[in-house]
């Protein structure tokens, strides 16, 4: 069922247009990379603070609230620029293990962010013991994993 869905995506006129239009893929890939940098920065500023590094003179919840919108909007940009790439190379993605590993970590990362990470980052500082460090470490690990698998889809699939 999933395979036929990916075959359907690959057969869409938009996918054909993406593949035929010389500049479509490069422009979208470049925009995706710029969005990735914005997303990574927003995640790192808070995660480093969770780890007790970075902007330690600024209250954690203030920093987390400020970076939250940058993280959300850059993720939206990542999705908007990522979806056309998946559509146009749907079968390549379907047969790549890295694509599925990436998507699994993206979903876990999003759930983790909107539940545990957000709760820890917005909580009163010093009330959660070592949990902020654990959360910061896991968050950096997950999003690094997403970047690694994303890069490997193009290189090893």
């Amino acid at each position: 069922m999933l395979q036929s869905f990916f075959q359907w995506m690959q057969g869409l006129p938009f996918s054909a247009w993406m593949l035929e239009e010389t500049w479509a893929s490069p422009i979208i890939q470049c925009a995706h990379l710029v969005a990735l940098v914005a997303f990574a920065g927003a995640v790192l500023v808070v995660d480093m603070r969770l780890l007790g590094r970075g902007l330690i003179k600024t209250p954690l919840n203030q920093l987390a609230r400020e970076m939250d919108r940058w993280m959300i909007w850059s993720f939206v940009a990542l999705f908007v620029t990522g979806a056309p790439q998946v559509l146009s190379t749907a079968l390549k993605q379907y047969y790549s293990p890295f694509f599925w590993w990436k998507m699994q970590i993206v979903i876990i990362g999003l759930l983790f962010n909107f539940t545990i990470r957000r709760r820890v980052a917005f909580a009163e500082e010093g009330s959660l013991g070592h949990w902020p460090k654990v959360v910061g470490f896991l968050s950096i690990g997950m999003w690094t994993g997403v970047s690694v698998y994303a890069r490997l889809i193009g290189l090893l699939s």
């Binding site: 470049c30 710029v34 940098v37 920065g41 480093m48 590094r53 902007l55 940058w70 890069r151």
Partner: protein, 174 residues
């Protein structure tokens, strides 16, 4: 310059890297991850200068607290980038986007030094305030645009078929 690239291209260690199955994907993946560390943090520093974010954070806090991490990312980025170039020098020699990226990095570096040694000296006067001097804002905008362009040209290096016609006419890679 061409003979230097050709000389590197023929070195046994360059050939070994080029022929290794795992070296290129490993180096490129580390290059992208370290780019996220460097460019991601620099982007928010630039946006602080422009006044787009982190406005309650004193300006001087950011270089002190974030630059060591950003520079670590930059160092890893330079090493992996250097190794990528070392492994396939002739692939990059004729690539317009490679030279454009190098030029943009040079200009971004000049902008950074100019800002550090000119505008940033007076940071105590505008450290806490919401009003950032025009010179600092301008340096932030220029830096944002330049580093975004570095990222874009870096990605475009893979598209050797999409180089400007005037560049192709120069026959540099032939």
């Amino acid at each position: 310059m061409r003979s230097l690239f050709e000389w590197v291209d023929a070195l046994p260690s360059s050939i070994a890297l080029r022929e290794s199955l795992n070296a290129y994907p490993t180096m490129l993946t580390i290059h992208v991850v370290s780019m996220c560390l460097f460019a991601g943090l620099i982007a928010y520093w630039d946006m602080r200068l422009v006044g787009l974010t982190l406005r309650k954070v004193p300006v001087s806090n950011i270089p002190t607290r974030l630059f060591p991490w950003a520079l670590t990312g930059y160092g890893i980025n330079l090493i992996t980038g250097g190794l990528l170039l070392y492994s396939q020098p002739m692939r990059y020699y004729g690539n317009f986007y490679f030279w454009a990226k190098m030029a943009l990095m040079l200009i971004a570096g000049i902008n950074m030094f100019w800002f550090h040694y000119a505008t940033y000296k007076s940071v105590q006067a505008w450290d806490q305030g919401r009003e950032i001097p025009m010179n600092a804002r301008l340096a932030g905008v220029v830096s944002l645009v330049l580093w975004a362009a570095v990222v874009v040209t870096g990605r475009m290096m893979a598209y050797s078929g999409l180089m400007p016609q005037w560049w192709n006419n120069l026959n540099i890679g032939a």
